[in-house]
Amino acid sequence: MNKYVRRALIAAVWIGLWQGLMLMVGLPKLLPGPADTLRAWIALAGTGEFWLSVGMTLLRVAAGYLCAVAAGILLSVLCWRFRTAEEFLSPIRSVIRATPVASIIILVYLWIAKGRVPVFISFLMVLPIVWTGVQEALAGVDSQLREMCRAYRFTKKQTARYLYLPAVRPALIAACVNGLGFAWKSGIAAEVIATPDLSVGKYLNDAKVYLEAADLFAWTLTVVLLSMALEKTLKAVMRRKGEKP
């Protein structure tokens, strides 16, 4: 069977189950079916505000994500290279990882403008993923190859380019792919709490407040589709650059 037909059939089964569940519950105001959700989505997508909100949310998440990747790489090199830096900075990483994201969002909401909260939260959630992944990869670089570079008088630039970068690349890519999902989910969660203007999170929150379950489902569908599109785009970009995502 053609893979597209198979996928379409699987999707049809899940949509059928959703419809069946909706009919069983019998409360479309609380659990809308696929048709109601699609109608709500089409109505939303017909407005300029929808696309502007999606664009702004993407922009916020992307800003936080890209800053986190850059900072994560920088911190990983710093902590790998200097023991003092590792001792000084690693507690921050542990605190970020251990603190529930909702607590951080609420705290940050008190400190900075609400439009920046999702940027900061996406940044904070991705930072330890990249930081840890790259630092572990740096520490795991084959010591025999390091010695070979020394014996053959590689310059620092050559060692970085031909030994460390290729050795660290798979871990960096894995961290980037994993981090993207975290950035997206935490960014939206931050928007739901901070409700900045023109944001997917604000509309999700509004739908909850006004008990518009169909809108809530439509926005959630948007979030899921965008997340999948982002991941596929990232993987496609990496494939084009010859990397294995």
Partner: protein, 187 residues
């Protein structure tokens, strides 16, 4: 002359040399021979400057460029054979030594047999050039016919070649002066 004078060396919990004295010729080919565990590899590492003696000294190698063939091939797995070699020399020398070693330079190490990887590592050491060539088990994984051909091609390239081998036939093949490491070991 290269002199190893009263050199002691240990790895953590494992003494290797205690007050070792040895003289290597200034030019030519010398083969370090000893049973396994007597420190042939360690001595090559000391000569290459990759380890420092705990006491004693090594003289005669100052300001001399050393090419080292490790016991392991240590090729960068993400580079082709040609790039592994060109990285320590240039494209022309890489092509020359690849031909001498009968290797297709476009292959990646993971696609090569152990013997082929060994020859790439050997080609890299040869292409690196210098005054002293240190070879640790250079013919590991090579069949006899290939070993004989390769030995003939690497024999007289460097002013001084020091190899660590366990097979006297390989030393003879290189026309090497044999230095018994166990004879110079004290304590």
């Amino acid at each position: 002359m290269i002199r190893v004078e009263d050199v002691s060396f240990s790895y953590p919990g494992k003494p290797v040399f205690s007050h070792l004295d040895l003289t290597l010729p200034d030019a030519g080919i010398a083969a370090l021979m000893a049973p396994s565990g007597y420190g042939k590899t360690t001595l090559l590492r000391l000569l290459a400057g990759l380890e420092a003696p705990a006491s004693g000294r090594i003289t005669g190698l100052e300001n001399r460029k050393t090419a080292f063939l490790f016991q392991e091939d240590r090729l960068l797995p993400w580079l082709t054979a040609e790039k592994n070699i060109a990285l320590v020399s240039d494209a022309e020398r890489a092509a020359y030594w690849l031909e001498k070693m009968e290797i297709d330079g476009g292959q990646y190490p993971r696609a090569m047999s152990g013997g082929m990887q060994r020859r790439v590592a050997l080609a890299r050491a040869m292409a690196f050039g210098g005054d002293v060539l240190l070879l640790d088990e250079p013919f590991k994984g090579l069949d006899e016919a290939l070993r004989d051909r390769i030995a003939g091609r690497i024999r007289d390239v460097f002013p001084l070649t020091v190899l660590a081998v366990h097979d006297p036939e390989e030393a003879a093949l290189m026309g090497a002066q044999i230095l018994r490491l166990d004879a110079g070991r004290n304590g």
